[in-house]
């Protein structure tokens, strides 16, 4: 009996295998480990912390830095009604058609300033219109001729009513 005989005899007898149940248990364990869901808890915690910091810190910073910006914004909005209040409602209504024509030709950014200027110019005819309403036609005509002499640029913005007043007197308007 040599070593080879002994080894051959052993290998012929070495037939034991694990039970199928044991095999399945181990294979199932391997499968379950791969299917194990990712642990999101640390990531969720980190995201929540970052969100909290993002919400709280800028609030404190804004309280210190932003008031001046807020105040200037408030000042800007509060000044708007004052400008409009300075223009009589009646005049604005009368000037509306001409104002629309002006607004169509100007840029949006400067529209407010230009319209206010136009209203101011149109407002120059208001005393004359008042005189007309009071029946003082001659005085109104004299005042209008004087106004157009002083400010010839207003001739192009002359309301039809006042144009007629000049036509009656034989004054030619360009």
């Amino acid at each position: 009996m040599n070593d080879h005989d002994i080894v051959s005899l052993y290998q012929a007898s070495a037939t034991e295998e694990p039970a199928a149940e044991l095999d399945q248990r181990i294979l199932d364990y391997a499968k379950s480990q791969h299917k194990k869901p990712m642990n999101w808890l640390p990531y969720v915690s980190l995201a929540a912390s970052l969100a909290l910091v993002a919400v709280l810190l800028p609030t404190q910073w804004r309280d210190q830095v932003m008031p001046s910006v807020e105040q200037s914004r408030l000042k800007a909005t509060s000044s708007l009604p004052t400008q409009y209040e300075s223009v009589p409602a009646r005049t604005m209504m009368k000037a509306a058609p001409s104002q629309r024509a002006v607004n169509d030709t100007i840029e949006p950014q400067s529209r407010d300033a230009v319209s206010l200027k136009a209203e101011k110019q149109l407002n120059a005819f208001a005393p004359i219109e008042n005189l007309l309403e009071q029946g003082q036609t001659a005085q109104a005509r004299t005042k209008l001729i004087q106004l157009l002499h002083d400010k010839p640029e207003l001739t192009s913005q002359l309301p039809d009513k006042l144009k007629a007043l000049l036509d009656q007197a034989g004054v030619v308007t360009k």
Partner: protein
């Protein structure tokens, strides 16, 4: 996939390929199972199965840290060997106690092939644990002596001596059971 090495299969398994693990398991389950069953023959078959299962569970758990540069089977049996050493330490006093109670068990011998199988199994159990381990690693798991050195953490001369004495013990035992000729 059948031609893939153990190391390639393990790398694929660590990336989630379940079939790679199944193939790896099928390749090595028999020899590893016998390694524990033979080594713990005097203790408990259930305990051998527990340790066998424990080795595979550790392989699964450590799949991410496995380095493909290390030979898979060496790594596998190194885990098995360490578990076995721990088991020996725990059960040493119990084994000594049993050895005092049990005489060499009589083997019921019947037909020729059955007699031979029963004789070799019996004689294997009679080897000293370190000789039996060297024998199983060399002739069941087909490791080279140098690989056995790595697994059991012993010098080459020590492993060769264990193998030589193991074979000598087996020859004597088998001769007693079966006679001079097989």
């Amino acid at each position: 996939m059948g031609t893939r090495t153990d190391e390639q299969l393990m790398a694929r398994f660590s990336k989630g390929d379940q079939t790679a693990f199944t193939q790896l398991y099928q390749r090595h389950k028999g020899a590893l199972y016998r390694y524990f069953v033979r080594q713990l023959n005097g203790v408990s078959e259930e305990r051998a199965e527990e340790l066998y299962q424990d080795v595979w569970y550790r392989v699964i758990d450590k799949r991410e840290t496995y380095s493909p540069s290390a030979k898979f089977t060496t790594w596998l049996y190194r885990i098995a060997h360490n578990l076995l050493v721990d088991e020996y330490r725990k059960s040493l006093s119990e084994l000594a106690f049993r050895a005092q109670l049990d005489a060499e068990p009589e083997v019921e011998l019947g037909e020729s092939e059955y007699r031979k199988t029963a004789a070799i199994k019996h004689c294997i159990t009679q080897l000293a644990p370190l000789q039996r381990e060297a024998f199983l690693l060399r002739y069941d798991s087909a490791f080279e002596p140098s690989q056995i050195c790595t697994i059991v953490d012993a010098k080459p001369e020590t492993v060769k001596t264990r193998l030589r004495y193991g074979l000598k013990q087996l020859r004597q035992c088998l001769t007693r059971k079966l006679g001079e000729r097989l």
